[in-house]
Symmetry: C2
Subunit: 331 residues, 2 copies
């Protein structure tokens, strides 16, 4: 599949912008942090953790909706959400939470999305828009598009590429989405107005939106996000295992800290991601292991030239990417 | 080999300190940022890049020496070093640089150390102390201990575990070593007074020192530092290769950024490290690849339980390490 088949809505208005390399595929140009927004009547956040909580904080701070309601599973979360100020109302009653909402955002781990949508279906308003923050899109879109259509509502898949290794609503930040990339994955069946409204929503919380085919999205993120997670977790698990001498942990410095940071993320969320995208992730692992073995072979052969080329190429590619990317936090 | 054979100079004065887990093996307790210092007459820094420049800035700011001289290779570096203020005098004359110095710190990539020491040997003062900042110790100690002894001077190996992906004296920072760990690797032949003075020096720039056997050090850092570097570089090289669609780079977010950060480090420095520690690094790669394959197998078998356990263990181990570690910069 070619990129041109994947990406719709090219925007070349700012070819000279510093973010010139991938800019052409984004709306809007990255110099606009917050897009002018549509005001929503009621937004419901289903699952108020790091992502849901951060969305709630942003929506409230930027007055994007008259009312923000959060659905939570645990009684303790109700008080916690209200304490953080992430929502106007937190409730364990799913149908009450989604009733009359114009926009419902699923912010739970992936496996909980379908059962929750089934439960809420009778309470969803006709014409409402349902979206999500799941890191895998093909399975989510397949499961939810038809289901949500049964309620006369519209499902548009989203993947805001923002997060942190911290978990829970207490780690929520109103600026989490600023300068992040949010992929949306409308299908041929999607209501175009709903797709545009979802894009506007992500732009209004500071993200740059990018439309991709859900299947293509899953291949790309298996490399850029899911593989790094598995690699970081394997590295942390291996280096810090108890069989190693006590001094091993003391010799883990900032390089190790950053290389493994994402391994401190939510195991529940990442289990769902790894399982939902396991075929693509496994392919990425195969290619990655083959590359590691090439480096190992060069080391075994004391092949300085290959080792040098390997390190130079990695630096060049990463520095080029860094030069073209924007990020909410400095390196 | 057991840890007790590796680590000398246990210090249990602060068993209740937050850094309690590996603290017992450090001098001094981490609450003391800067140790009281010996004042040196002249310190020479051989190679004034990120590490050498940061040392120069600290030495000057904390008045640890009457004079700090830097040896540089390129003419342009002389002006750059003086502009940054990293040394009192920068020169391309190695013998002039080391003449009368009490302490000579080798801050070049590993392969340059032996030839430079050979060149400077006639100019080194009897009784002077020579140390280094090399990330691999066994080969360095083996090469330099006897050589430096020929000048009636003392070589003590050091590995300050501080750095950044940025290179050159312009990236130097006076606080680079604060709260870092610095391993020293004196041998049975080492002059004990020289070994203690080198430890005092590192403590006076803010580091906590840890004595280890050079061979044991190399095994430990092959896992905690050299493996993460190879992994990060392989990941950056693989994900960002030009064969992937253009949108691939756009879908690299903060997780990718941090997991690959060290891959932007100096290829020259890391080539030398990888080559000098290639046997240990290759062993670490073998174990790491085996662990990756276990995860891949669990994914192939849709084995949710194993995938969950893998992610939970990695998080637990890393969070435990983070809880016990101190770091100069927040996560």
């Amino acid at each position: 599949m070619q990129l041109s088949e994947w990406v719709s809505g090219f925007d070349n208005r700012s070819p000279t912008h510093p973010f010139a390399w991938p800019l052409s595929i984004f709306h809007p140009p990255s110099s606009i942090l917050y897009a002018p927004h549509v005001r929503w009547n009621k937004i419901t956040i289903v699952g108020v953790g790091l992502l849901g909580g951060s969305l709630g904080l942003t929506i409230k701070r930027r007055r994007l909706a008259d009312k923000v309601v959060g659905y939570v599973r645990r009684a303790a979360s109700v008080a916690e959400c209200e304490h953080v100020g992430a929502v106007d109302l937190a409730t364990r009653d799913l149908c009450l939470a989604v009733k009359d909402a114009d926009l419902i955002i699923l912010c739970t781990p992936l496996t909980q999305m379908q059962p929750l949508v089934k439960q809420m279906l009778l309470a969803v308003k006709r014409g409402a828009i349902v979206t999500d923050v799941g890191s895998v899109k093909a399975s989510v879109v397949k499961e939810l598009e038809t289901l949500v259509a049964k309620a006369g509502a519209h499902f548009i898949g989203s993947h805001p590429m923002a997060g942190a290794e911290k978990t829970g609503v207490s780690a929520a930040r109103a600026d989490l989405f600023v300068n992040s990339v949010c992929v949306t994955t409308p299908t041929k069946k999607s209501n175009q107005m709903a797709a545009r409204k979802v894009e506007k929503f992500w732009q209004s919380v500071g993200a740059r939106t990018l439309r991709l085919d859900a299947i293509a999205h899953d291949v790309l993120v298996s490399r850029s996000s899911h593989l790094p997670h598995v690699v970081a977790a394997t590295l942390a698990g291996y280096v810090l295992k108890s069989e190693h001498p006590k001094a091993q942990a003391a010799l883990c410095a900032n390089g190790f800290r950053d290389t493994t940071r994402v391994a401190s993320g939510s195991p529940e969320m990442w289990r769902d991601i790894a399982m939902a995208n396991r075929r693509n992730l496994s392919s990425a692992l195969t290619a990655f292991i083959a590359d590691l073995k090439k480096v190992q072979r060069a080391l075994a052969n004391a092949d300085v030239r290959t080792v040098t080329k390997f390190l130079e190429t990695a630096k060049q590619r990463r520095d080029r990417w860094r030069g073209s990317a924007t990020s909410p936090s400095p390196e």
